[in-house]
């Protein structure tokens, strides 16, 4: 049915995207298979031997198993902040979508401000020190929640606006108290946008480099993104280990991607078309 021109176009598109988007990842994988000497060449040569496992072991053991600590820290931070974000943002989105008060304008202004304004780094550190939260995992969690709330709220509010209000009222008549209405009726209905939130925020927080750099100093507090700096200075850049490290920390997003590929697109859709 389709003309030859479109077949050629399709092949060209596949080839172009392969070169631009796939080859860099192949490069990472190849490098992770090489030994130190060969990786120093930084070329596209085929690995002369299977060194992936050795590299992984070495990366994981480096600096007193820092990688393990980092994975635990990053996972804790991600899970805790995303959980808090989901519940708190959905609560705000719910009341914001349902109740029209004169404060709505102010709240929406603050949400937009949160999306735009860059966090004031040093004053935040000063404040965290005052609150004894500086350099702690729970401090980091609260920071991630504060910084990412606006985006989650926007996603939730747009979705909640599509849920008929009669449902809340039916629940009220059924004897539901506010917390019942929210947790038993509304929150379960938000599942599609909750998935979007989980994916977007967990990937963002897991990959976050800047905020842990500022607010979570110290080796015992390392997050996975910071482990990348282990091999650049320390070993005079051991490229095989560096790329093995990149490969390792790419696995969690890859898993998320494989499970939620479809939902991400659908979820972003819901938020974006509305503007």
């Amino acid at each position: 049915m389709k003309s030859r021109a479109s077949v050629i176009g399709g092949v060209a598109a596949i080839a172009a995207t392969f070169v631009v988007f796939v080859i860099p990842f192949l490069f990472i994988i190849l490098m992770a298979f090489k030994d130190r000497q060969q990786s120093a060449l930084r070329d596209f040569s085929w690995p002369n031997g299977f060194h992936l496992w050795d590299n992984v072991v070495q990366v994981v053991q480096t600096r007193n198993w820092m990688m393990v600590t980092a994975f635990i820290n990053s996972t804790l931070i991600t899970v805790a902040s995303v959980t808090l974000l989901i519940v708190l943002a959905a609560m705000v989105g719910f009341v914001l979508a349902r109740r029209k008060t004169r404060y709505n304008g102010l709240i929406e202004f603050l949400i937009l401000a949160g999306l735009m304004i860059p966090p004031a780094v040093v004053p935040t550190i000063w404040l965290l020190q005052g609150l004894k939260l500086f350099g702690t995992l729970h401090g980091m969690v609260l920071i991630q929640v504060a910084y990412n709330l606006p985006f989650s709220i926007i996603l939730y509010r747009a979705f909640i606006a599509t849920i008929p209000r009669e449902l809340d009222e039916a629940a009220v008549i059924d004897g539901a108290r506010p917390l019942d209405v929210f947790f038993r009726v509304i929150l379960p209905l938000l599942w599609p946008v909750t998935v979007t939130n989980i994916v977007v925020q967990s990937v963002g927080i897991f990959n976050d480099f800047t905020n842990p750099l500022y607010y979570l100093p110290g080796n015992q507090n390392a997050t996975v993104q910071l482990t990348l700096y282990n091999f650049q200075s320390q070993f005079n850049t051991a490229y095989n280990l560096l790329f093995t490290n990149i490969l390792l920390i790419t696995i969690p997003p890859l898993i998320v991607f494989m499970f939620f590929n479809r939902q991400i697109v659908a979820g972003m859709t819901a938020g974006a078309v509305k503007g």
Binding site: E166, E169, A170, A171, V172, I173, D174, G175, A176, L189
Partner: protein, 361 residues
């Protein structure tokens, strides 16, 4: 036993009064229908009774309690919504049982109540389904089941049949009637459809612009509408009206005449009306018949032949247009002259304020 008592109930939305002092008493076990055009406040009134809207002023009693500030769950009411408002993520079983679960009813009691309600509504086979797997009529049943299971003293219905197709609506109407007889509970029902109101109600409350126009049995409203609004709203096709002049007043009758009508003496309460006044005459289309001696003569504009009856649209000399519903089939030519007669007892005189002047007694 729960009757309701509304005492000068008011509702303001930011300075705009939408319910302007409603007084109403509803007996236990009555089926009361609130009817009126859209925006008349009937749904707002129902939602105030449900506790979904705050009451700005006045007093609401359910049973012997003032419930102005009582939570909906403690008012002894249940409500069926226009869109059914079934919880999409719960099965029919859980939808029906949600209220009981919130009330921490023991599991076995809950189960029995859910199954009883399902049996009454003949939807036992639907219990494991999700709302999305149900037809409109089935959703309606689930919504009613959710109300029944609470065993409320008062059922509230907010235009529950408006999302169903015509045939299903007739069926559900009958089922609701039957349910009312079986349960013996008080039911308050909101609709804009006067046929639903006429067929279901023990008592109809006609509302317009936040004011009760008339309260009465369906036949009372049909036969003796209190004013022009009720006369025009109740009955289908709509009542015909023309402006006429009072020619003379006798004991118990008012003789009127007009551009469209030769003098007729209509039984009416003439107090306060004087000769020469302009009043409105109303006659239902079904009360008109074709007679060459008729007091009203017009031109046939449109004929709808339904077989058992014929609906004729007639243009009167003044320019107003009337409908007549004639028994049997009539073959009429467009443009032909047509004379209408009616029994003087069927005519209703409305004074300048729109109030009906039914004869005394």
């Amino acid at each position: 036993m729960a009757g309701l008592e509304l005492k000068s109930l008011r509702k303001n939305y930011g300075g705009v009064e939408v319910i302007k002092g409603v007084d109403l008493s509803i007996e236990h076990g009555e089926f009361v229908v609130f009817v009126g055009p859209s925006g008349c406040g009937k749904s707002t009134l129902l939602r105030m009774i449900a506790g979904l809207e705050d009451i700005t002023g006045g007093e609401l009693r359910i049973g012997d309690r003032v419930v102005n500030h009582v939570e909906p769950r403690d008012r002894g009411i249940a409500m069926v919504f226009q869109s059914y408002a079934l919880y999409p993520h719960m099965t029919v079983y859980d939808n029906v049982g949600f209220g009981l679960k919130l009330a921490k009813t023991p599991k076995d009691v809950r189960d029995k109540k859910i199954r009883d309600a399902a049996r009454i509504l003949q939807m036992e086979h639907l219990l494991d389904r999700k709302p999305s797997q149900l037809s409109g009529g089935q959703r309606q049943r689930v919504a009613i089941g959710r109300a029944i299971v609470r065993q409320p003293e008062v059922f509230l219905f907010d235009e529950p049949l408006s999302n169903l197709d015509a045939a299903l609506r007739v069926d559900m109407r009958m089922e609701l009637s039957k349910l009312h007889n079986d349960l013996g509970a008080t039911m308050i029902y909101v609709t804009h459809d006067q046929v639903e109101a006429m067929t279901l109600a023990d008592k109809i409350v006609v509302l317009n612009a936040g004011v009760v126009q008339q309260v009465g049995s369906p036949i009372e409203l049909y036969k003796k509408p209190a004013n022009l609004f009720v006369a025009g709203f109740i009955g289908s096709p709509k009542m015909n009206f023309i402006d006429v002049t009072v020619q003379s007043i006798d004991a118990g009758t008012v003789t009127i005449v007009g551009k469209d009508i030769s003098p007729v003496a209509i039984p009416a309460d003439a107090s306060g009306i004087s000769v020469g006044d302009t009043v409105t005459l109303g006659i239902r289309p079904h009360e008109l018949s074709n007679a060459s001696t008729g007091s009203i003569v017009g031109q046939v504009m449109l004929v709808e032949r339904l077989g058992n009856e014929t609906i004729v649209n007639i243009a009167l000399p003044s320019g107003s247009s009337w409908l007549a519903v004639l028994d049997g089939d009539h073959r009429l030519a467009i443009g032909q002259s047509f004379a209408l007669a009616f029994d003087a007892n069927a005519g209703i005189i409305f004074d300048k304020t729109g109030k009906a002047r039914h004869p005394a007694g």
